[in-house]
């Protein structure tokens, strides 16, 4: 389906990076989960990799403006996201799927996505069309009027993706989007990711190295709240060809980068 493109969308941007952090520190409870992270992300799909407890979810929460950083600089789409004055206009341009996707069980898929579009302050006239388009893009057209409590885990995850992309965000944050998706849906999801990444900045946090290699244009590896490595998926595979443990070159690259980082620190 074709969509009208407004003049504001075609305006050139005045910032170098959609996401730019300097010495970013974010707390999860009392623990400093993101500790001095320097990161620059451009347009494209960025795969955020790291072991459990590396601070991926906390970083995603800071990028989605849910958590206030406790130190450092965070610039999103050219705005200083640590000041609360710019939050409202900034949040209209964000899409976010949290790791724990909470939902209201009595809402239908369409009602839920529509509610999220309304919360993101989309123009009233644009909402019904945008909702239909988002629901179609995740392949839930047939279930658009079922209640959320009647859906399976994988379908709920897709509802989560639909609500995140409904406002055509300039910065899209997906935390573990492929959990519960079957192999066929994961392949479809990767196609969707590539499509989204052509004109916006998409950050996907995941455990699955193969997803990153297949669908991302850039790999970001974090451990203990710090940036370990950033580069192309091909470069990760190249590192994996020289050693490391794992079943695929990309996994070997991932483990060898992590172990060399740990032995260095």
């Amino acid at each position: 389906m074709v969509r009208m493109v407004s003049a504001t969308e075609l305006k050139p941007t005045t910032y170098a990076w959609p996401v730019e952090t300097t010495e970013l520190r974010v707390k999860a409870g009392r623990h400093l989960a993101v500790n001095g992270l320097d990161l620059q992300l451009g347009t494209g799909v960025h795969g955020l990799l790291g072991p459990n407890g590396a601070g991926k979810t906390t970083l995603m929460r800071a990028l989605s403006t849910v958590h206030r950083p406790s130190g450092g600089q965070l610039r999103l789409l050219g705005e200083d996201a640590t000041s609360s004055r710019v939050l409202r206009p900034l949040r209209r341009r964000l899409g976010y799927l949290p790791q724990h996707f909470g939902f209201y069980p009595r809402f239908t898929v369409r009602e839920y996505v529509e509610y999220m579009a309304w919360l993101r302050e989309m123009p009233k006239a644009a909402i019904p069309g945008a909702v239909q388009r988002a629901v179609e893009r995740v392949g839930l057209t047939a279930r658009a009027d079922s209640r959320l409590k009647a859906l399976s885990g994988g379908m709920l995850r897709r509802v989560g993706i639909a609500q995140a992309i409904v406002n055509d965000p300039d910065l899209l944050l997906l935390d573990e989007p492929t959990v519960g998706l079957d192999p066929e849906q994961r392949v479809e999801f990767r196609t969707l990711l590539r499509e989204l990444g052509t004109d916006s900045c998409v950050v996907v946090s995941t455990h699955l190295v193969e997803d990153v290699v297949a669908a991302c244009t850039d790999v970001v590896l974090v451990d203990e709240g710090k940036l370990v490595w950033q580069g192309l998926p091909a470069a990760l595979i190249q590192i994996g060809e020289q050693g490391g443990t794992g079943d695929s070159p990309a996994e070997r690259g991932y483990t060898s980068l992590l172990s060399s980082h740990r032995s260095a620190s």
Binding site: T65, V66, L97, E111, Y115, M116, E121
Partner: protein, 263 residues
């Protein structure tokens, strides 16, 4: 646009003549969209196979409209409820309403004791408020917080729903007990405003709990034990409540930015 499409351009357009460039096609189409006269001229120029094709398409569209899925029903009430309320407050509001009812019945039985309705009124909206804006009871809090409308606007919508449910039973109880409406209304509004203001700093749920516990322990409990109606719920202290409500409401709106992130 007053000029119509020249016959030559229209003929070239109808025939799909490659001599007519993109800009020309565009100009023709923009004019056609707004001019019934030129559309009629276009229809006259169309070849018979094209007209048959258009008829077939029309029949197929009509069939699709008849047999296809029904358009989605517009459910205004449901949408209104979604945008103003959250489901999780319903059990709490039921609890508050039954408490108000119990207080009313006790007051009617024992008119000489300090009025329980008056002692409960200030904190009655707070239970609903604590539930309406807390991480624990709102399953979608993380998604909601990251959106543009999150903050005081959404919180105020939910507060209005809580007040609209809690205040009418209080009004009925007050009217049947023959009390001045200001006596119960002003304290409950003052406490609501205070919860919103304090909630910006420590979280609405925490603020509401703190304020209700403080009121119940410091004022309501001693009043029940000593059987003396405390001075704060007597008519003489009404100006103070009015001032507190006004100042609290103004400050809460002024500090709206505090609610942009969940505490």
């Amino acid at each position: 646009m007053t000029d119509h499409i020249p016959a030559a351009s229209l003929a070239a357009y109808t025939a799909g003549d490659p001599g007519l460039d993109d800009a020309g096609v565009w100009a023709v189409e923009v004019h056609l969209e707004n001019c019934a006269e030129c559309r009629a001229r276009l229809a006259e120029l169309a070849s018979p196979p094209l007209l048959t094709l258009l008829d077939d398409v029309q029949v197929m569209i009509d069939r699709g409209v008849r047999n296809g899925p029904e358009p989605v029903r517009r459910r205004t009430w449901r949408r209104l409820a979604h945008r103003w309320a959250v489901w999780s407050v319903v059990p709490w509001l039921a609890l508050v309403l039954s408490t108000v009812l119990a207080a009313f019945l006790l007051d009617r039985e024992f008119p000489q004791r300090p009025s329980l309705v008056l002692l409960l009124a200030p904190v009655a909206p707070l239970a609903g408020l604590a539930i309406a804006w807390s991480r624990r009871s709102d399953p979608a809090w993380e998604i909601t917080t990251g959106t543009a409308r999150a903050g005081l606007e959404l919180l105020l919508r939910r507060t209005v729903v809580v007040l609209a449910t809690v205040l009418p039973p209080l009004a009925a109880a007050g009217w049947l007990l023959d009390m001045s409406p200001a006596l119960w209304l002003l304290p409950s509004l003052a406490f609501t405003a205070a919860s919103l203001l304090l909630g910006g700093l420590i979280g609405v749920a925490r603020a509401a709990t703190l304020l209700s516990a403080g009121w119940l322990l410091a004022v309501a409990l001693p009043a029940i034990l000593t059987a003396n109606l405390p001075v704060v719920v007597r008519p003489s202290s009404l100006p103070v409540w009015a001032a507190a409500t006004l100042i609290g409401a103004v400050l809460a709106v002024a500090r709206a930015g505090d609610h942009r992130r969940f505490n």
